[in-house]
C-alpha cells in the first residue's frame, strides 16, 4: 500500500463515515420531528395535558394481552377526558410497541421520557420487560406503573419509582386460592407451569402455601418456552394425585387438548389459572374437556360472575359483551382477568395527582406524588375500581385484593367463590420508602 493510496483511502473513509453521520443526523432530525408532530395541539388554551406514556405489547408473544391493554387504556382515558380530565387537565396517552422484549422495553422507556417527556409511564405485563424497564425509569426519575402480576415490584427487585397498584401479584393470588384448593379439591398436588419467572412465582407461592396448610406438591413440571407439543411432559404426572394445578402461556390450546387426551375421563381435579386460556374462547375445539374443572379468575369473564353497577359500566366502556368477548367480534375473547389492571392503574394516577397537587415533571412535584401514593392504603370499589376494593401496601408498592374461583359449567365460567382480601396477604421485608427518591 503506497502513501498516495493510503491518503486517498483516508479521504474515502472520511467521506463514507461522514455520509453515515449525515444520514444519522437526518434520521435524528426526522425522529425528533416525528415526535413533535405527534403531540396534538393543547385542547384548551393554557391547559397543558397530562402525558401518560404507555409501553404496549403490540407484537411478540404478549400481543394477545397487549391488544386488550391498549383497548382498556384508551377507554379509561376517554372516560377521564369526558369527565373533566385529571385535575382539570386532559390526558394524552402516548403508546409505543415494546415487542414484548426486555431490550426494546427499556428503549421505549427512554423514548417516552426523553423524546416525549411524559409525566408517568404505564408499564407492561411480561415480567422480563418490566424488570429491564424499571431501572431505566428509576434513573430517569419517572413513576413506572407495572400491570404485570409479577413479584418484581413487591419483592423489592426494582426501585422506589416502580409501582403495581392496579393488579394483584401472583403470590397474593396463589395465597388466596391455595387454601380453597387444598380444602375442597385435595392435598396431593402436581403442578405444570411455564419455565420462566411467571411460572416460578406460581411454583414458589404454591409451595409456601402447601407448607402452611399441610398439603403436598408431589411433582413440579416446568415447561420450556416455545414448546408446541406437550404429551411427552405429561408422562411425568403421577397417577395418584388429587389435583393437577396448571398455568400455561404459549401454545395453550394444544396444551389443553393434549392434556384432555392424556388424562381421559378418569382425571384428577383440575385447577388452572385463567392464563392457560386467557383471550381464548371456551368454545374452541378441544376445550370442552375443561367442563367441570376449576379456574382462578382475576375478574370474571362472564358478566353474571360479578354483577355490580361498576363492573357493568366498565364492561360497557371497554366494549366487551356478556360473554367476555369483543362486542364487534364474538370470536375475539378479552384478557378480562388482567386488563382491568390498566383501568384501575390510570385511576390511581388520577387520584394521586389530584390529591398531591402534582403539576409537572420536576423534582418537588414527584416528591409530592410518590409520597402521597405511598401513604395510600385503600382503594374503594367503584367506577374507578370495578374489580373490587384493594388494600395498598405503600412499603411494597403493591395492591392486594379479592380473587375469584370459577368452574366451567355448560361451556361457561361460573363463579363459585370470591376470596377475602385478608386471604391474600403475605409478609415481606421489602420497604421501598427507605430508598432515597432523588
Amino acid at each position: 500500500m503506497n502513501r498516495r493510496y493510503a491518503l486517498s483511502s483516508l479521504l474515502k473513509t472520511g467521506i463514507v463515515a461522514g455520509a453515515a453521520a449525515g444520514l444519522g443526523g437526518v434520521a435524528g432530525y426526522f425522529s425528533s420531528r416525528l415526535v413533535a408532530e405527534r403531540s396534538p395541539p393543547v385542547k384548551e388554551a393554557g391547559v397543558k395535558p397530562i402525558r401518560i406514556g404507555f409501553q404496549v405489547h403490540r407484537t411478540g408473544i404478549g400481543a394477545p394481552y397487549g391488544f386488550w391493554y391498549e383497548r382498556v387504556a384508551n377507554a379509561a382515558v376517554s372516560y377521564i377526558n369526558r369527565t373533566g380530565g385529571i385535575a382539570g387537565r386532559p390526558v394524552e396517552l402516548i403508546a409505543e410497541d415494546d415487542e414484548t422484549s426486555p431490550a426494546k422495553g427499556a428503549q421505549v422507556v427512554e423514548r417516552l421520557v426523553l423524546a416525549h417527556n411524559v409525566d408517568f409511564i404505564l408499564g407492561a405485563l411480561f415480567s422480563d420487560v418490566v424488570l429491564a424497564s424499571g431501572p431505566r425509569a428509576g434513573e430517569l426519575k419517572r413513576p413506572y406503573f407495572a400491570v404485570s402480576e409479577g413479584t418484581h415490584v413487591p419483592f423489592g427487585l426494582l426501585n422506589r419509582w416502580c409501582f403495581q397498584p392496579g393488579i394483584t401479584d401472583v403470590p397474593g393470588q396463589v395465597t388466596a386460592v391455595a387454601k380453597w384448593i387444598f380444602e375442597n379439591l385435595g392435598r396431593r398436588v402436581a403442578m405444570i407451569f411455564p419455565d420462566y419467572a411467571f411460572g416460578h412465582d406460581h411454583r414458589d407461592a404454591l409451595t409456601r402455601a402447601a407448607e402452611r396448610y399441610g398439603a403436598r406438591i408431589v411433582e413440579k413440571i416446568p415447561i420450556p418456552p416455545g414448546e408446541t407439543s406437550f404429551t411427552k411432559y405429561f408422562t411425568r404426572i403421577p397417577r395418584d394425585i388429587d389435583v393437577l394445578y396448571h398455568v400455561m402461556v404459549g401454545d395453550v390450546l394444544t396444551f389443553v387438548r393434549e392434556l384432555g387426551v392424556f388424562l381421559g375421563r378418569d382425571r384428577p381435579e383440575l385447577f388452572g389459572f385463567i392464563d392457560s386460556i386467557e383471550a381464548v374462547p371456551l368454545s374452541a375445539p378441544g376445550l370442552e374437556y375443561l367442563e367441570g374443572t376449576y379456574f382462578w379468575e382475576g375478574f370474571p369473564r362472564y358478566a353474571d360472575g360479578y354483577d355490580t353497577p361498576y363492573s357493568r359500566f366498565y364492561r360497557e366502556s371497554v366494549g366487551v359483551d356478556e360473554n367476555g368477548a369483543d362486542k364487534s367480534d364474538p370470536s375475539r375473547v378479552s384478557a378480562y382477568s388482567h386488563m382491568f389492571g390498566v383501568w384501575e392503574t390510570l385511576f390511581v394516577i388520577k387520584e394521586v395527582v389530584e390529591q398531591s397537587g402534582y403539576s409537572e415533571p420536576r423534582r418537588e412535584d414527584y416528591e409530592l406524588f410518590v409520597n402521597s401514593l405511598e401513604e395510600m392504603d385503600w382503594f374503594n370499589e367503584g367506577l374507578w375500581h370495578p374489580q373490587g376494593d384493594k388494600l395498598f401496601n405503600g412499603r411494597l408498592h403493591q395492591s392486594f385484593g379479592h380473587q375469584f374461583i370459577s368452574t366451567v359449567r355448560n361451556g361457561r365460567l361460573v363463579v363459585i367463590h370470591r376470596t377475602k382480601i385478608e386471604d391474600s396477604l403475605y409478609e415481606h421485608a421489602n420497604d421501598y420508602t427507605k430508598q432515597p427518591l432523588f
Binding site: M1, Y5, A6, L7, S9, L10, K12, T13, G14, V16, A17, G18, A20, A21, L23, G24, G25, A27, G28, F30, S31, S32, L34, V35, R38, R58, T59, A95, E96, D97, E99, S101, P102, A103, A106, Q107, V108, E110, R111, L114, A115, S127, D128, L131, A132, G134, P135, R136, G138, E139, G150, H152, L157, L158, D195, Y196, A197, H200, P224, P225
Partner: protein
C-alpha cells in the same frame, strides 16, 4: 506489512460521534449510546463473518456470556465494574474458544446449526438454572455497582453512558482496523478465500479460526458486559435466536467493508426500527419492508466498495 497510521482512518466514525455529542438532543443521544454498545457486538460478529467467512448463528451466546459474566460477577463476587467487565470478556472468550472449536471441526450450514444449537443450549440452561441467572425475567444490578454509577460523582449517567460506549467502540474500531491490515488479517482473508490452499501451505487453519473466534469473543463479550454494566439489567431475553440473527442483518446491511460496515449496518437497522416505533401501527412491518429494501440496496453498493478499494467478500 506493518500496520500504518492510515489504517486507523475508520476512527473518523467515533470522532464524528464525539463531535456530534453537544449537538444531539437528549433522546438521540441515548439512542446513539445504545447503538454504539450494540455495534461493538456487530464488529465482533463481522470478524467471523467477513474476515474468515464463517457464518455463526450462535453469537448471542457470546454476547450473553459477556452479559452474565459481568452481571453475576457484580452480584456474587464484588461490585467492581472494571473487574466485572474483565470477567464478562473472559467468560465470552472462553465460550468463543468452544464455538471456534466447532468451526474448526464443521463447516457451512452444519456450522450454522451447530452454533445455533450451542447457543440454544445456553439459553435453555439460563432458563433452567433460574435461581442463579434470574431466568427469562433476569436480574437487576445495583446502580452503584454499574459503570455509570462509578462516574456519577463526575458526570450525569447519560453522559457517562455515551462516553463509555464511545470509548469502547473506538477501541473496537481501532482494533478491527489494525487487525484487518495486519499479517494475521491477511491470513484471515486467505482462510476465507481458500481454506484448502492455506492448509496446504502449512498453516494451521484451526488455530486461525480459534484466534478469529476469540477476537470475536472479546468484542461480543465486551458489548454484552456493557449492556449489563450500563443498563443494569441481565436476562435471557438477550440469548434468543433473534439476538443471534440481528448481527447477521447488521453486517449484511453494512456491507463487507469490515472497518465501517458493522457500525453503519447497526446504525441503519436500529434507526429504522426506532423511527418506525413512533407509528401507531405496524412498526415491525415497516422494519420488514426496510430489510427487503436493504437487500436490494446492498446489491447496488458495489461501486462504493470499488471506490474504497475493497473487494467484496464473495466471488461471483
Amino acid at each position: 506489512m506493518r500496520p500504518r497510521l492510515s489504517n486507523l482512518a475508520p476512527l473518523v466514525i467515533p470522532l464524528l460521534l464525539a463531535a456530534a455529542y453537544p449537538l444531539l438532543p437528549e433522546y438521540p443521544k441515548a439512542l446513539a449510546a445504545r447503538i454504539m454498545t450494540l455495534s461493538i457486538y456487530s464488529y465482533g460478529y463481522a470478524v467471523c463473518f467477513h474476515m474468515i467467512g464463517v457464518m455463526s448463528l450462535g453469537h448471542a451466546a457470546l454476547f450473553a456470556a459477556g452479559m452474565y459474566g459481568a452481571g453475576l460477577y457484580t452480584i456474587h463476587v464484588s461490585p467492581d465494574p472494571l473487574m466485572a467487565l474483565a470477567a464478562g470478556i473472559a467468560s465470552a472468550v472462553s465460550l468463543s474458544l468452544l464455538l471456534g472449536g466447532l468451526a474448526a471441526r464443521v463447516r457451512g450450514p452444519y456450522l450454522m446449526i451447530a452454533t445455533l444449537l450451542a447457543s440454544q443450549t445456553i439459553y435453555l440452561a439460563a432458563l433452567h438454572f433460574n435461581e442463579v441467572t434470574g431466568g427469562e425475567q433476569g436480574l437487576v444490578l445495583e446502580r452503584e455497582a454499574t459503570l455509570v454509577g462509578v462516574f456519577r460523582p463526575l458526570m450525569a449517567e447519560a453522559d457517562a453512558r455515551y462516553f463509555i460506549s464511545l470509548l469502547t467502540l473506538s477501541a473496537a474500531v481501532a482494533g478491527v482496523s489494525l487487525l484487518s491490515a495486519s499479517r494475521l488479517g491477511k491470513l484471515f482473508l486467505a482462510l476465507r478465500d481458500d481454506e484448502e490452499k492455506l492448509e496446504s501451505l502449512g498453516y494451521n487453519t484451526s488455530l486461525l479460526k480459534l484466534t478469529a473466534f476469540s477476537v470475536s469473543g472479546v468484542l461480543s463479550g465486551a458489548s454484552g458486559a456493557l449492556q449489563a454494566l450500563l443498563y443494569s439489567y441481565v436476562g435471557a431475553g438477550y440469548v434468543g435466536i433473534f439476538n443471534s440473527v440481528e448481527p447477521v442483518l447488521w453486517t449484511l446491511v453494512g456491507g463487507p467493508y469490515v472497518q465501517v460496515g458493522p457500525f453503519l449496518g447497526c446504525l441503519l437497522v436500529n434507526v429504522l426500527g426506532d423511527l418506525a416505533r413512533g407509528l401507531p401501527r405496524g412498526h415491525v412491518l415497516v422494519v420488514g419492508v426496510g430489510l427487503v429494501a436493504f437487500s436490494f440496496a446492498t446489491g447496488r453498493l458495489g461501486w462504493v466498495y470499488r471506490l474504497l478499494g475493497v473487494s467484496r467478500g464473495r466471488e461471483e
